[in-house]
Protein backbone atom coordinates (compact mmCIF):
# COMPACT_ATOMS: atom_id res chain seq x y z
CA UNK A 1 0.00 0.00 0.00
CA UNK A 2 2.80 2.41 0.87
CA UNK A 3 4.51 1.78 -2.39
CA UNK A 4 1.30 2.21 -4.30
CA UNK A 5 0.91 5.66 -2.83
CA UNK A 6 4.56 6.53 -3.05
CA UNK A 7 4.46 8.47 -6.36
CA UNK A 8 2.38 11.19 -4.75
CA UNK A 9 5.18 11.65 -2.27
CA UNK A 10 5.26 10.20 1.22
CA UNK A 11 4.92 13.56 2.91
CA UNK A 12 2.92 15.55 0.37
CA UNK A 13 -0.57 16.71 1.16
CA UNK A 14 -2.19 14.61 -1.51
CA UNK A 15 -0.37 11.53 -0.32
CA UNK A 16 -1.51 12.17 3.22
CA UNK A 17 -5.11 12.72 2.11
CA UNK A 18 -5.04 9.50 0.12
CA UNK A 19 -3.66 7.57 3.08
CA UNK A 20 -6.32 8.91 5.44
CA UNK A 21 -8.96 8.16 2.84
CA UNK A 22 -7.75 4.60 2.37
CA UNK A 23 -7.71 4.07 6.13
CA UNK A 24 -11.29 5.33 6.52
CA UNK A 25 -12.65 3.32 3.61
CA UNK A 26 -10.93 0.12 4.76
CA UNK A 27 -12.33 0.70 8.24
CA UNK A 28 -15.85 1.00 6.86
CA UNK A 29 -15.31 -2.13 4.80
CA UNK A 30 -14.28 -4.01 7.94
CA UNK A 31 -17.30 -2.72 9.86
CA UNK A 32 -19.53 -3.75 6.95
CA UNK A 33 -18.10 -7.27 7.03
CA UNK A 34 -17.94 -7.74 10.79
CA UNK A 35 -21.25 -6.23 11.93
CA UNK A 36 -23.55 -8.91 10.44
CA UNK A 37 -21.20 -11.57 11.79
CA UNK A 38 -21.22 -10.14 15.32
CA UNK A 39 -25.00 -9.73 15.21
CA UNK A 40 -25.30 -13.34 14.08
CA UNK A 41 -23.04 -14.53 16.91
CA UNK A 42 -25.06 -12.51 19.42
CA UNK A 43 -22.21 -10.16 20.37
CA UNK A 44 -24.26 -7.22 19.07
CA UNK A 45 -28.06 -6.83 19.36
CA UNK A 46 -30.23 -7.24 16.25
CA UNK A 47 -30.58 -3.81 14.57
CA UNK A 48 -34.32 -4.36 14.09
CA UNK A 49 -35.12 -5.66 17.59
CA UNK A 50 -36.25 -3.15 20.15
CA UNK A 51 -39.28 -4.50 22.02
CA UNK A 52 -37.34 -5.19 25.21
CA UNK A 53 -35.49 -1.92 25.23
CA UNK A 54 -36.62 1.47 26.56
CA UNK A 55 -37.67 3.81 23.76
CA UNK A 56 -35.87 7.07 22.99
CA UNK A 57 -33.33 6.40 25.71
CA UNK A 58 -30.26 8.62 25.77
CA UNK A 59 -26.85 6.93 25.54
CA UNK A 60 -26.12 4.54 28.42
CA UNK A 61 -23.69 1.69 29.08
CA UNK A 62 -26.16 -0.81 27.67
CA UNK A 63 -26.80 1.24 24.52
CA UNK A 64 -23.78 3.41 23.79
CA UNK A 65 -25.57 5.51 21.23
CA UNK A 66 -29.05 5.37 22.78
CA UNK A 67 -32.22 3.87 21.33
CA UNK A 68 -34.73 5.24 18.82
CA UNK A 69 -38.50 5.63 19.03
CA UNK A 70 -38.98 1.86 18.60
CA UNK A 71 -36.31 1.01 21.14
CA UNK A 72 -33.83 -0.12 18.52
CA UNK A 73 -30.15 0.34 19.26
CA UNK A 74 -28.90 3.41 17.36
CA UNK A 75 -25.28 2.26 17.49
CA UNK A 76 -25.90 -1.13 15.88
CA UNK A 77 -28.17 0.42 13.27
CA UNK A 78 -25.46 2.93 12.41
CA UNK A 79 -22.88 0.16 12.09
CA UNK A 80 -25.20 -1.96 9.94
CA UNK A 81 -25.84 1.04 7.72
CA UNK A 82 -22.27 1.02 6.41
CA UNK A 83 -22.66 -2.41 4.83
CA UNK A 84 -25.94 -1.42 3.22
CA UNK A 85 -24.54 1.84 1.85
CA UNK A 86 -21.41 0.20 0.45
CA UNK A 87 -23.46 -2.57 -1.23
CA UNK A 88 -25.92 -0.24 -2.94
CA UNK A 89 -23.24 2.19 -4.04
CA UNK A 90 -21.01 -0.57 -5.40
CA UNK A 91 -23.91 -2.12 -7.30
CA UNK A 92 -24.94 1.26 -8.72
CA UNK A 93 -21.45 2.15 -9.88
CA UNK A 94 -20.82 -1.27 -11.45
CA UNK A 95 -24.10 -0.86 -13.35
CA UNK A 96 -23.12 2.64 -14.44
CA UNK A 97 -19.71 1.40 -15.62
CA UNK A 98 -21.16 -1.55 -17.51
CA UNK A 99 -23.60 0.72 -19.34
CA UNK A 100 -21.63 3.93 -19.64
CA UNK A 101 -18.18 2.72 -20.72
CA UNK A 102 -19.16 0.53 -23.73
CA UNK A 103 -21.73 3.10 -24.83
CA UNK A 104 -19.15 5.87 -24.64
CA UNK A 105 -16.53 3.84 -26.50
CA UNK A 106 -18.95 2.93 -29.24
CA UNK A 107 -20.26 6.47 -29.56
CA UNK A 108 -16.79 7.96 -29.74
CA UNK A 109 -15.51 5.32 -32.12
CA UNK A 110 -18.44 5.33 -34.52
CA UNK A 111 -19.10 9.07 -34.60
CA UNK A 112 -21.77 10.32 -36.97
CA UNK A 113 -25.48 10.71 -36.19
CA UNK A 114 -25.55 7.92 -33.56
CA UNK A 115 -22.85 9.75 -31.65
CA UNK A 116 -24.63 13.07 -31.93
CA UNK A 117 -27.95 11.74 -30.66
CA UNK A 118 -26.30 9.90 -27.76
CA UNK A 119 -24.28 12.97 -26.80
CA UNK A 120 -27.37 15.17 -26.81
CA UNK A 121 -29.29 12.67 -24.69
CA UNK A 122 -26.48 12.24 -22.18
CA UNK A 123 -25.85 15.99 -22.02
CA UNK A 124 -29.51 16.51 -21.25
CA UNK A 125 -29.39 13.95 -18.46
CA UNK A 126 -26.17 15.51 -17.20
CA UNK A 127 -27.76 18.96 -17.01
CA UNK A 128 -30.50 17.76 -14.69
CA UNK A 129 -29.91 18.10 -10.96
CA UNK A 130 -28.54 14.77 -9.80
CA UNK A 131 -30.85 14.33 -6.84
CA UNK A 132 -33.93 15.28 -8.87
CA UNK A 133 -33.16 12.60 -11.44
CA UNK A 134 -32.73 9.81 -8.94
CA UNK A 135 -35.69 11.00 -6.89
CA UNK A 136 -37.94 10.68 -9.94
CA UNK A 137 -36.58 7.22 -10.73
CA UNK A 138 -36.77 5.98 -7.17
CA UNK A 139 -40.34 7.30 -7.01
CA UNK A 140 -41.22 5.26 -10.09
CA UNK A 141 -39.33 2.10 -9.22
CA UNK A 142 -40.43 1.91 -5.60
CA UNK A 143 -38.37 0.85 -2.61
CA UNK A 144 -35.84 -1.93 -2.83
CA UNK A 145 -32.13 -2.57 -2.99
CA UNK A 146 -31.78 -3.14 -6.76
CA UNK A 147 -34.27 -0.31 -7.40
CA UNK A 148 -32.22 2.15 -5.36
CA UNK A 149 -29.08 1.04 -7.20
CA UNK A 150 -30.80 1.56 -10.56
CA UNK A 151 -32.01 5.02 -9.53
CA UNK A 152 -28.45 5.94 -8.55
CA UNK A 153 -26.80 4.42 -11.61
CA UNK A 154 -28.74 6.62 -14.04
CA UNK A 155 -27.02 9.63 -12.53
CA UNK A 156 -23.54 8.28 -13.25
CA UNK A 157 -24.00 6.71 -16.69
CA UNK A 158 -23.74 10.14 -18.41
CA UNK A 159 -20.51 10.89 -16.54
CA UNK A 160 -18.72 7.72 -17.68
CA UNK A 161 -20.20 8.15 -21.10
CA UNK A 162 -18.79 11.67 -21.43
CA UNK A 163 -15.29 10.88 -20.21
CA UNK A 164 -14.95 7.66 -22.19
CA UNK A 165 -16.53 9.05 -25.33
CA UNK A 166 -14.24 12.06 -25.50
CA UNK A 167 -11.17 9.93 -24.93
CA UNK A 168 -12.28 7.39 -27.53
CA UNK A 169 -12.82 10.11 -30.08
CA UNK A 170 -9.31 11.34 -29.35
CA UNK A 171 -7.60 7.95 -29.42
CA UNK A 172 -9.44 6.98 -32.59
CA UNK A 173 -7.42 9.51 -34.54
CA UNK A 174 -4.09 8.03 -33.38
CA UNK A 175 -1.78 6.50 -35.89
CA UNK A 176 -1.65 3.06 -34.29
CA UNK A 177 -5.39 2.63 -34.66
CA UNK A 178 -5.10 3.38 -38.35
CA UNK A 179 -2.25 0.89 -38.54
CA UNK A 180 -4.35 -1.80 -36.88
CA UNK A 181 -7.23 -1.07 -39.23
CA UNK A 182 -5.04 -1.35 -42.28
CA UNK A 183 -3.77 -4.69 -40.96
CA UNK A 184 -7.35 -5.90 -41.06
CA UNK A 185 -8.38 -5.61 -37.40
CA UNK A 186 -12.17 -5.52 -36.95
CA UNK A 187 -13.95 -2.81 -34.93
CA UNK A 188 -14.62 -5.12 -31.97
CA UNK A 189 -10.96 -6.07 -31.76
CA UNK A 190 -9.89 -2.44 -31.92
CA UNK A 191 -12.42 -1.42 -29.27
CA UNK A 192 -11.24 -4.13 -26.92
CA UNK A 193 -7.57 -4.20 -27.62
CA UNK A 194 -6.72 -0.53 -28.13
CA UNK A 195 -9.51 1.72 -26.97
CA UNK A 196 -10.47 0.04 -23.71
CA UNK A 197 -6.92 0.07 -22.36
CA UNK A 198 -6.42 3.71 -23.16
CA UNK A 199 -9.73 4.79 -21.85
CA UNK A 200 -9.96 2.78 -18.66
CA UNK A 201 -7.20 4.74 -16.87
CA UNK A 202 -9.48 7.69 -16.31
CA UNK A 203 -12.09 5.59 -14.55
CA UNK A 204 -10.73 4.90 -11.01
CA UNK A 205 -10.63 8.56 -9.95
CA UNK A 206 -14.12 9.18 -11.23
CA UNK A 207 -15.29 5.97 -9.55
CA UNK A 208 -14.03 6.99 -6.12
CA UNK A 209 -15.43 10.50 -6.33
CA UNK A 210 -18.74 9.16 -7.59
CA UNK A 211 -18.87 6.67 -4.73
CA UNK A 212 -18.65 9.60 -2.31
CA UNK A 213 -21.42 11.36 -4.18
CA UNK A 214 -23.56 8.21 -4.36
CA UNK A 215 -23.43 7.72 -0.58
CA UNK A 216 -24.88 11.24 -0.20
CA UNK A 217 -27.60 10.67 -2.78
CA UNK A 218 -28.58 7.31 -1.34
CA UNK A 219 -28.87 9.04 2.02
CA UNK A 220 -30.99 11.74 0.40
CA UNK A 221 -33.31 9.15 -1.13
CA UNK A 222 -33.67 7.38 2.21
CA UNK A 223 -34.32 10.71 3.90
CA UNK A 224 -37.12 11.43 1.43
CA UNK A 225 -38.61 8.00 2.11
CA UNK A 226 -37.60 6.59 -1.25
CA UNK A 227 -34.57 4.41 -0.70
CA UNK A 228 -34.59 0.93 0.76
CA UNK A 229 -37.34 -1.16 2.37
CA UNK A 230 -37.97 -0.32 6.01
CA UNK A 231 -36.61 -3.65 7.20
CA UNK A 232 -33.10 -2.66 6.11
CA UNK A 233 -31.32 -0.31 8.53
CA UNK A 234 -30.21 2.69 6.50
CA UNK A 235 -28.72 6.04 7.53
CA UNK A 236 -31.00 8.22 5.42
CA UNK A 237 -34.30 6.78 6.60
CA UNK A 238 -33.07 6.65 10.21
CA UNK A 239 -32.32 10.36 9.93
CA UNK A 240 -35.78 11.02 8.56
CA UNK A 241 -37.24 9.40 11.67
CA UNK A 242 -34.82 11.36 13.83
CA UNK A 243 -36.10 14.61 12.29
CA UNK A 244 -39.54 14.26 13.87
CA UNK A 245 -37.97 13.68 17.30
CA UNK A 246 -35.55 16.59 16.93
CA UNK A 247 -37.69 19.42 18.38
CA UNK A 248 -37.97 17.50 21.67
CA UNK A 249 -34.20 17.57 22.04
CA UNK A 250 -33.46 13.95 21.12
CA UNK A 251 -30.05 14.39 19.54
CA UNK A 252 -28.55 10.90 19.54
CA UNK A 253 -30.76 9.43 16.82
CA UNK A 254 -29.72 12.32 14.55
CA UNK A 255 -26.05 12.56 15.44
CA UNK A 256 -24.65 9.06 14.92
CA UNK A 257 -26.06 7.94 11.53
CA UNK A 258 -25.26 11.35 10.04
CA UNK A 259 -21.75 11.34 11.44
CA UNK A 260 -21.14 7.87 9.99
CA UNK A 261 -22.28 9.09 6.60
CA UNK A 262 -20.19 12.27 6.78
CA UNK A 263 -16.99 10.40 7.65
CA UNK A 264 -17.49 7.82 4.89
CA UNK A 265 -18.04 10.55 2.28
CA UNK A 266 -15.03 12.40 3.67
CA UNK A 267 -12.89 9.26 3.36
CA UNK A 268 -13.97 8.55 -0.20
CA UNK A 269 -13.39 12.20 -1.16
CA UNK A 270 -9.89 12.18 0.37
CA UNK A 271 -9.10 9.00 -1.52
CA UNK A 272 -10.47 10.43 -4.76
CA UNK A 273 -8.56 13.71 -4.42
CA UNK A 274 -5.37 11.86 -3.60
CA UNK A 275 -5.80 9.51 -6.55
CA UNK A 276 -6.54 12.42 -8.83
CA UNK A 277 -3.36 14.28 -8.10
CA UNK A 278 -1.46 11.00 -8.29
CA UNK A 279 -2.86 10.21 -11.74
CA UNK A 280 -2.21 13.72 -13.01
CA UNK A 281 1.34 13.37 -11.72
CA UNK A 282 0.77 15.81 -8.92
CA UNK A 283 1.32 18.52 -11.50
CA UNK A 284 -1.73 20.54 -10.59
CA UNK A 285 -1.14 20.61 -6.88
CA UNK A 286 2.52 20.33 -6.09
CA UNK A 287 4.22 22.51 -8.63
Amino acid sequence: MRQWLAPSGGRSLSGRLARWGTLIVVLYGLVALLTPLLVHLGALPDPNAGLENPINASPTWAHWCGTDRLGRDVGVRTLSGSGVALQVVALALVLALVIGVPLGMLSGYLGGPVDRVLVLLMDTLYTLPVLLLSVVLAFLLGRGLPNAAAALCVVYVPQYFRVVRNQSAQVKAELYIEAAQSLGAGPLWILRRYLLRNVITSVPVLLTLNAADAVLILGGLGFLGLGLPESIPEWGSDLQQALTALPTGIWWTALFPGLAMFVLVLGLSFLGEGLESWVSGGEELTR
Binding site: T127, V136, L224, S269
Partner: protein, 339 residues
Protein backbone atom coordinates in the same frame (compact mmCIF):
# COMPACT_ATOMS: atom_id res chain seq x y z
CA UNK B 1 -15.14 40.80 -37.16
CA UNK B 2 -14.84 37.08 -37.52
CA UNK B 3 -14.94 36.57 -33.78
CA UNK B 4 -18.16 38.47 -33.69
CA UNK B 5 -19.69 36.22 -36.32
CA UNK B 6 -18.44 33.18 -34.42
CA UNK B 7 -19.96 34.51 -31.25
CA UNK B 8 -23.35 35.04 -32.89
CA UNK B 9 -23.23 31.54 -34.29
CA UNK B 10 -22.28 30.00 -30.96
CA UNK B 11 -24.97 31.88 -29.05
CA UNK B 12 -27.52 30.96 -31.72
CA UNK B 13 -26.62 27.28 -31.54
CA UNK B 14 -26.74 27.30 -27.76
CA UNK B 15 -30.15 28.98 -27.77
CA UNK B 16 -31.47 26.60 -30.41
CA UNK B 17 -30.35 23.62 -28.33
CA UNK B 18 -32.30 24.71 -25.26
CA UNK B 19 -35.80 23.90 -26.58
CA UNK B 20 -34.56 20.54 -27.85
CA UNK B 21 -33.19 19.69 -24.43
CA UNK B 22 -36.43 20.83 -22.82
CA UNK B 23 -38.45 18.68 -25.18
CA UNK B 24 -36.20 15.69 -24.42
CA UNK B 25 -36.61 16.15 -20.67
CA UNK B 26 -40.38 16.58 -20.90
CA UNK B 27 -40.71 13.49 -23.10
CA UNK B 28 -38.47 11.48 -20.82
CA UNK B 29 -40.50 12.38 -17.75
CA UNK B 30 -43.75 11.67 -19.57
CA UNK B 31 -42.57 8.30 -20.82
CA UNK B 32 -41.05 7.24 -17.49
CA UNK B 33 -44.24 8.06 -15.61
CA UNK B 34 -46.32 6.04 -18.08
CA UNK B 35 -44.18 2.91 -18.38
CA UNK B 36 -43.29 2.68 -14.71
CA UNK B 37 -45.02 0.09 -12.55
CA UNK B 38 -47.85 1.47 -10.42
CA UNK B 39 -51.18 2.77 -11.68
CA UNK B 40 -52.11 6.35 -10.78
CA UNK B 41 -55.72 5.17 -10.53
CA UNK B 42 -54.68 2.77 -7.78
CA UNK B 43 -52.95 5.60 -6.01
CA UNK B 44 -56.09 7.75 -6.17
CA UNK B 45 -58.87 5.27 -5.47
CA UNK B 46 -57.09 2.36 -3.89
CA UNK B 47 -56.97 -1.09 -5.45
CA UNK B 48 -60.40 -2.15 -4.17
CA UNK B 49 -62.52 0.56 -5.81
CA UNK B 50 -65.33 -0.67 -8.10
CA UNK B 51 -64.32 -1.18 -11.71
CA UNK B 52 -66.91 1.34 -12.97
CA UNK B 53 -65.46 4.12 -10.84
CA UNK B 54 -61.96 3.24 -11.97
CA UNK B 55 -62.97 3.31 -15.64
CA UNK B 56 -64.79 6.63 -15.20
CA UNK B 57 -61.79 8.26 -13.57
CA UNK B 58 -59.47 6.75 -16.17
CA UNK B 59 -61.58 8.32 -18.90
CA UNK B 60 -61.81 11.62 -17.09
CA UNK B 61 -58.04 11.82 -16.78
CA UNK B 62 -57.57 10.69 -20.37
CA UNK B 63 -55.58 7.65 -19.31
CA UNK B 64 -57.69 5.31 -21.47
CA UNK B 65 -56.37 6.78 -24.70
CA UNK B 66 -53.41 5.35 -26.61
CA UNK B 67 -50.01 6.47 -25.33
CA UNK B 68 -49.26 8.46 -28.48
CA UNK B 69 -52.50 10.43 -28.20
CA UNK B 70 -51.78 11.14 -24.53
CA UNK B 71 -48.31 12.30 -25.51
CA UNK B 72 -49.77 14.63 -28.15
CA UNK B 73 -52.13 16.18 -25.61
CA UNK B 74 -49.32 16.48 -23.09
CA UNK B 75 -47.03 18.34 -25.52
CA UNK B 76 -49.85 20.51 -26.77
CA UNK B 77 -50.78 21.52 -23.23
CA UNK B 78 -47.17 22.02 -22.26
CA UNK B 79 -46.50 24.48 -25.08
CA UNK B 80 -49.44 26.55 -23.85
CA UNK B 81 -48.16 26.45 -20.29
CA UNK B 82 -50.88 24.10 -19.10
CA UNK B 83 -49.38 21.50 -16.80
CA UNK B 84 -52.60 19.73 -15.89
CA UNK B 85 -54.24 19.47 -12.48
CA UNK B 86 -53.02 18.03 -9.25
CA UNK B 87 -54.54 14.57 -8.79
CA UNK B 88 -55.12 15.03 -5.08
CA UNK B 89 -56.92 18.36 -4.92
CA UNK B 90 -57.62 19.39 -8.53
CA UNK B 91 -55.66 22.66 -8.27
CA UNK B 92 -53.88 23.49 -11.52
CA UNK B 93 -50.27 22.35 -11.27
CA UNK B 94 -49.08 25.70 -12.65
CA UNK B 95 -50.87 27.45 -9.77
CA UNK B 96 -49.17 25.22 -7.16
CA UNK B 97 -45.81 25.99 -8.73
CA UNK B 98 -46.51 29.72 -8.95
CA UNK B 99 -47.33 29.77 -5.24
CA UNK B 100 -44.29 27.84 -4.06
CA UNK B 101 -41.62 29.05 -6.47
CA UNK B 102 -41.02 32.46 -4.78
CA UNK B 103 -40.20 30.75 -1.49
CA UNK B 104 -37.62 28.55 -3.21
CA UNK B 105 -36.11 31.42 -5.18
CA UNK B 106 -35.85 33.56 -2.06
CA UNK B 107 -34.04 30.79 -0.21
CA UNK B 108 -31.88 29.98 -3.24
CA UNK B 109 -30.74 33.53 -3.96
CA UNK B 110 -29.85 34.28 -0.34
CA UNK B 111 -28.07 30.92 -0.01
CA UNK B 112 -26.11 31.56 -3.21
CA UNK B 113 -24.99 34.95 -1.90
CA UNK B 114 -23.85 33.43 1.39
CA UNK B 115 -22.09 30.62 -0.52
CA UNK B 116 -20.28 33.11 -2.76
CA UNK B 117 -19.07 35.24 0.16
CA UNK B 118 -17.92 32.27 2.27
CA UNK B 119 -16.48 30.32 -0.65
CA UNK B 120 -14.60 33.22 -2.22
CA UNK B 121 -13.12 34.15 1.15
CA UNK B 122 -11.93 30.57 1.65
CA UNK B 123 -10.75 30.41 -1.94
CA UNK B 124 -8.24 33.17 -1.28
CA UNK B 125 -6.13 30.45 0.30
CA UNK B 126 -5.11 29.83 -3.31
CA UNK B 127 -2.45 32.51 -2.95
CA UNK B 128 -0.80 30.51 -0.18
CA UNK B 129 2.22 28.26 -0.61
CA UNK B 130 1.06 24.94 -2.10
CA UNK B 131 1.00 22.07 0.40
CA UNK B 132 1.30 24.55 3.27
CA UNK B 133 -0.99 24.97 6.25
CA UNK B 134 -3.25 27.57 4.65
CA UNK B 135 -3.52 25.48 1.49
CA UNK B 136 -4.46 22.47 3.60
CA UNK B 137 -7.14 24.50 5.37
CA UNK B 138 -8.59 25.67 2.05
CA UNK B 139 -8.71 22.17 0.63
CA UNK B 140 -10.17 20.64 3.79
CA UNK B 141 -12.86 23.34 3.80
CA UNK B 142 -13.80 22.42 0.23
CA UNK B 143 -13.93 18.68 0.85
CA UNK B 144 -15.58 19.05 4.25
CA UNK B 145 -18.48 21.19 3.09
CA UNK B 146 -18.99 18.84 0.15
CA UNK B 147 -19.00 15.73 2.33
CA UNK B 148 -21.64 17.04 4.73
CA UNK B 149 -24.98 15.33 4.08
CA UNK B 150 -27.27 18.37 3.55
CA UNK B 151 -30.15 17.14 5.67
CA UNK B 152 -27.84 16.10 8.48
CA UNK B 153 -26.07 19.45 8.48
CA UNK B 154 -29.50 21.06 8.64
CA UNK B 155 -30.50 18.87 11.57
CA UNK B 156 -27.33 19.65 13.50
CA UNK B 157 -27.85 23.36 12.89
CA UNK B 158 -31.46 23.02 14.07
CA UNK B 159 -30.37 21.15 17.19
CA UNK B 160 -27.81 23.78 18.15
CA UNK B 161 -29.44 27.07 17.19
CA UNK B 162 -33.15 26.31 17.35
CA UNK B 163 -33.63 23.54 19.92
CA UNK B 164 -30.59 24.15 22.12
CA UNK B 165 -30.07 27.92 22.09
CA UNK B 166 -33.55 28.87 20.91
CA UNK B 167 -32.28 31.77 18.81
CA UNK B 168 -34.23 30.84 15.69
CA UNK B 169 -37.43 28.92 14.88
CA UNK B 170 -37.03 25.21 14.04
CA UNK B 171 -38.83 25.38 10.72
CA UNK B 172 -41.39 27.11 8.54
CA UNK B 173 -41.16 30.36 6.64
CA UNK B 174 -43.17 32.85 8.64
CA UNK B 175 -44.37 33.32 12.24
CA UNK B 176 -47.82 31.70 12.50
CA UNK B 177 -49.05 34.63 14.60
CA UNK B 178 -48.53 37.21 11.86
CA UNK B 179 -50.23 37.79 8.52
CA UNK B 180 -47.79 37.09 5.68
CA UNK B 181 -47.18 40.12 3.46
CA UNK B 182 -49.06 40.05 0.17
CA UNK B 183 -47.62 40.91 -3.21
CA UNK B 184 -44.84 39.13 -5.08
CA UNK B 185 -44.58 36.17 -2.71
CA UNK B 186 -41.00 37.09 -1.85
CA UNK B 187 -41.58 37.82 1.82
CA UNK B 188 -38.38 39.81 2.37
CA UNK B 189 -39.11 42.06 -0.58
CA UNK B 190 -42.81 42.37 0.21
CA UNK B 191 -42.31 43.31 3.84
CA UNK B 192 -39.58 45.78 2.87
CA UNK B 193 -41.87 47.40 0.32
CA UNK B 194 -44.69 47.54 2.84
CA UNK B 195 -42.30 48.99 5.41
CA UNK B 196 -43.47 46.47 8.00
CA UNK B 197 -40.54 45.81 10.31
CA UNK B 198 -42.35 43.08 12.25
CA UNK B 199 -42.98 41.07 9.11
CA UNK B 200 -39.44 41.68 7.90
CA UNK B 201 -37.94 40.50 11.18
CA UNK B 202 -40.23 37.47 11.24
CA UNK B 203 -39.33 36.28 7.77
CA UNK B 204 -35.63 37.01 8.33
CA UNK B 205 -35.57 34.94 11.52
CA UNK B 206 -37.04 32.01 9.61
CA UNK B 207 -34.72 32.46 6.65
CA UNK B 208 -31.41 32.60 8.54
CA UNK B 209 -30.91 28.92 9.39
CA UNK B 210 -31.95 27.29 6.07
CA UNK B 211 -30.13 29.89 3.96
CA UNK B 212 -26.96 29.72 6.05
CA UNK B 213 -26.93 25.92 5.95
CA UNK B 214 -27.45 25.74 2.21
CA UNK B 215 -24.93 28.53 1.70
CA UNK B 216 -22.31 26.73 3.78
CA UNK B 217 -22.84 23.49 1.85
CA UNK B 218 -22.46 25.20 -1.53
CA UNK B 219 -19.56 27.44 -0.57
CA UNK B 220 -17.10 24.57 -1.11
CA UNK B 221 -17.73 24.74 -4.85
CA UNK B 222 -16.73 28.42 -4.95
CA UNK B 223 -13.76 27.75 -2.68
CA UNK B 224 -12.41 25.04 -4.98
CA UNK B 225 -12.99 27.06 -8.13
CA UNK B 226 -11.32 30.24 -6.93
CA UNK B 227 -8.43 28.41 -5.23
CA UNK B 228 -7.47 26.39 -8.32
CA UNK B 229 -7.92 29.28 -10.74
CA UNK B 230 -6.02 31.71 -8.53
CA UNK B 231 -3.14 29.27 -8.30
CA UNK B 232 -3.14 28.73 -12.05
CA UNK B 233 -3.23 32.50 -12.65
CA UNK B 234 -0.34 33.10 -10.24
CA UNK B 235 1.81 30.63 -12.19
CA UNK B 236 1.05 32.27 -15.53
CA UNK B 237 3.38 34.27 -17.71
CA UNK B 238 1.56 37.56 -17.34
CA UNK B 239 1.85 37.41 -13.56
CA UNK B 240 5.53 36.62 -13.88
CA UNK B 241 5.85 39.59 -16.23
CA UNK B 242 4.03 41.83 -13.78
CA UNK B 243 6.26 40.68 -10.94
CA UNK B 244 9.42 41.24 -12.91
CA UNK B 245 8.33 44.78 -13.63
CA UNK B 246 8.55 45.31 -9.89
CA UNK B 247 4.84 45.49 -9.16
CA UNK B 248 4.05 44.69 -5.54
CA UNK B 249 2.65 41.27 -4.69
CA UNK B 250 -0.60 42.80 -3.43
CA UNK B 251 -1.15 44.57 -6.74
CA UNK B 252 -0.19 41.45 -8.66
CA UNK B 253 -2.79 39.38 -6.85
CA UNK B 254 -5.59 41.91 -6.83
CA UNK B 255 -5.16 43.56 -10.24
CA UNK B 256 -3.64 40.84 -12.39
CA UNK B 257 -4.44 37.38 -11.06
CA UNK B 258 -7.82 37.89 -9.41
CA UNK B 259 -9.83 39.23 -12.39
CA UNK B 260 -8.70 36.30 -14.51
CA UNK B 261 -9.42 33.81 -11.75
CA UNK B 262 -12.89 35.21 -11.12
CA UNK B 263 -14.25 34.68 -14.60
CA UNK B 264 -14.37 30.86 -14.39
CA UNK B 265 -16.22 31.34 -11.14
CA UNK B 266 -19.14 32.63 -13.18
CA UNK B 267 -19.27 29.31 -15.01
CA UNK B 268 -19.17 27.60 -11.65
CA UNK B 269 -22.16 29.64 -10.51
CA UNK B 270 -24.11 28.17 -13.41
CA UNK B 271 -23.14 24.65 -12.38
CA UNK B 272 -23.93 25.44 -8.76
CA UNK B 273 -27.53 26.17 -9.60
CA UNK B 274 -28.07 22.49 -10.40
CA UNK B 275 -26.57 21.37 -7.08
CA UNK B 276 -28.44 24.18 -5.41
CA UNK B 277 -31.68 22.52 -6.41
CA UNK B 278 -30.57 19.13 -5.14
CA UNK B 279 -29.46 20.64 -1.84
CA UNK B 280 -32.55 22.84 -1.62
CA UNK B 281 -34.78 19.77 -1.97
CA UNK B 282 -33.34 18.30 1.21
CA UNK B 283 -32.99 21.61 3.08
CA UNK B 284 -36.59 22.61 2.34
CA UNK B 285 -37.86 19.28 3.62
CA UNK B 286 -35.74 19.45 6.77
CA UNK B 287 -36.81 22.99 7.61
CA UNK B 288 -40.43 22.57 6.37
CA UNK B 289 -39.74 25.50 4.02
CA UNK B 290 -42.83 25.68 1.80
CA UNK B 291 -40.97 25.89 -1.52
CA UNK B 292 -41.18 23.91 -4.71
CA UNK B 293 -38.98 21.08 -3.42
CA UNK B 294 -41.16 20.70 -0.35
CA UNK B 295 -44.20 20.42 -2.64
CA UNK B 296 -42.37 17.81 -4.71
CA UNK B 297 -41.75 15.74 -1.60
CA UNK B 298 -45.47 16.02 -0.73
CA UNK B 299 -46.48 15.08 -4.26
CA UNK B 300 -44.20 12.05 -4.12
CA UNK B 301 -45.61 10.79 -0.85
CA UNK B 302 -49.18 11.28 -2.16
CA UNK B 303 -48.22 9.64 -5.48
CA UNK B 304 -49.58 12.68 -7.33
CA UNK B 305 -48.21 11.86 -10.81
CA UNK B 306 -49.31 15.11 -12.45
CA UNK B 307 -47.77 17.31 -9.81
CA UNK B 308 -44.49 15.36 -9.87
CA UNK B 309 -44.40 15.61 -13.64
CA UNK B 310 -45.13 19.34 -13.64
CA UNK B 311 -42.60 20.23 -10.96
CA UNK B 312 -39.83 18.16 -12.57
CA UNK B 313 -40.42 19.70 -15.99
CA UNK B 314 -40.47 23.25 -14.62
CA UNK B 315 -37.36 22.76 -12.47
CA UNK B 316 -35.51 21.14 -15.37
CA UNK B 317 -36.51 24.03 -17.61
CA UNK B 318 -35.12 26.50 -15.07
CA UNK B 319 -31.84 24.60 -14.89
CA UNK B 320 -31.48 24.47 -18.68
CA UNK B 321 -32.25 28.20 -18.97
CA UNK B 322 -29.70 29.12 -16.32
CA UNK B 323 -27.01 26.95 -17.87
CA UNK B 324 -27.62 28.43 -21.34
CA UNK B 325 -27.62 31.98 -19.93
CA UNK B 326 -24.33 31.39 -18.13
CA UNK B 327 -22.74 29.89 -21.26
CA UNK B 328 -23.78 32.92 -23.30
CA UNK B 329 -22.63 35.38 -20.61
CA UNK B 330 -19.22 33.73 -20.34
CA UNK B 331 -18.86 33.77 -24.12
CA UNK B 332 -19.67 37.48 -24.18
CA UNK B 333 -17.39 38.38 -21.28
CA UNK B 334 -14.36 36.25 -22.03
CA UNK B 335 -12.59 37.20 -25.27
CA UNK B 336 -10.23 34.21 -24.90
CA UNK B 337 -12.96 31.67 -25.61
CA UNK B 338 -12.88 30.30 -29.12
CA UNK B 339 -15.74 28.22 -30.47
Amino acid sequence: MSRRRELVRYVGARLALAPIMLWLIASLVFLLLRVAPGDPIDALLGTRAPEAARAALRQQLGLDQPLLVQYGHFLNDLVRGNLGESLTNQTPVAEVIRQSLPASLELGVVALLIAAVLGLAAGFSGIARPEGKLDLAGRLYGIGTYALPPFWAAMVVQLIFAVGLGWFPVGGRFPPTLMPPGGTGFYLLDSLLAGNSQQLLGSLRHLVLPAATLGLLLSGIFDNALRLNLRRALRSDYVEAARSRGIGERQVVLRHALPNALLPVLTITGITVASLIGGALLIEVTFSWPGIAFRLQEAISQRDYNLVQGIVVVVAALVVLVSVTVDVLVALLDPRIRF
